[in-house]
Symmetry: C2
Subunit: 192 residues, 2 copies
């Protein structure tokens, strides 16, 4: 049997650079923690912004903190269709050549020139958990979901290191395809 | 290698009983063909209805023809959340105990007492195609998707008989989770 981790389902959200936070919320503004996320040091902020695409928009999309070097907007392919953008499936932080989008906050708006992605599904593990699971940072594994709508996700990225703890991150499309709920256990399966 | 079939992605749609068609469009009304579907005798109609849930609604959802013994509304889990209903994942026609919903057409509305489902993913095959693939009607198989977002769907139902031809039917959530487009080839994998 494979190593078991809990699923964490990501709804659309964004991470902001300090400069874009200042543009959207005002100079010197700091994010207010709404609640801690499972990954150490990461939190959902009280603050939200509107995301405006060529075809549609989403009001009040939550910001995750803390700020990052680059603004990154994470949406599902369902969301992408509604907005009218064509983001690639990408690992967090790999934003080169990804579509831009318009963000609107209470103090102003910004048009990011890139940074819209569909997040590559991945498993977070601490170094100790990765050792126990027998996998390494950047390894590609499968993840089996034994639900009422079972499937095996292929090409799942392991992200391990300090600041990570066991959690399988998927978006809402992926969760729905597997009838997966937050906290459900899934199983890491090493590739042949 | 497994037998290959093309994917057909179902957006939300509905099938109507003759009585519900009369209630929504008027006594004696007949559906107008918009275009043939891949499955023999099935077609997308010109006609559309509004689906009203407790939380949200969808305007202009397409009717598929011809009429059937029972009205059946097929939506994704993403759609179900927007409507505020909790349909089970079900095989077509197995509607007992499924949620009802309100339908609104140009001549009237109906509140169906059951019939809202998330369709169980399935493969249509003619008898000759099933023989070639080495599978039988009602057999449960896996379907492998070798895309930019690869995965293996488990518990996929084979539906074979006259009036079927090779096609893998999934909903938009499932297609998005696998980055699958209409007409993409997928592979049937027999279960051990």
């Amino acid at each position: 049997m494979g190593y078991k981790v809990e699923a964490g389902i990501s709804n659309k959200h964004l991470h902001l650079s300090a400069a874009d936070l200042a543009a959207l919320y005002g100079e010197g503004y700091e994010l207010t923690k709404f609640k801690d996320l499972k990954q150490p040091g990461q939190y959902a902020a009280e603050e939200k912004v509107d995301i405006i695409g060529p075809k549609g928009e989403f009001k009040g999309v939550r910001i995750l903190g803390p700020t990052r070097p680059e603004t990154q907007v994470e949406i599902s392919l369902t969301d992408a269709r509604a907005l009218g953008v064509k983001p690639p499936v990408r690992e967090s932080g790999k934003l080169e050549g990804t579509p831009g989008i318009k963000l609107v906050g209470p103090a102003g708006s910004v048009d990011i020139s890139e940074g819209t992605i569909v997040a590559l599904r991945h498993v977070h593990l601490s170094p100790a958990q990765a050792a126990e699971a027998g996998v390494a940072d950047k390894e590609i594994v499968r993840v089996a979901v034994n639900s009422g709508r079972p499937l095996v996700f292929d090409e799942v990225l392991i992200r391990s290191g300090d600041g990570h703890t066991a959690e399988f991150h998927v978006d809402t499309d992926e969760a729905n395809a597997a009838a997966l709920s937050n906290g459900d256990e899934v199983e890491i399966v090493k590739k042949g």
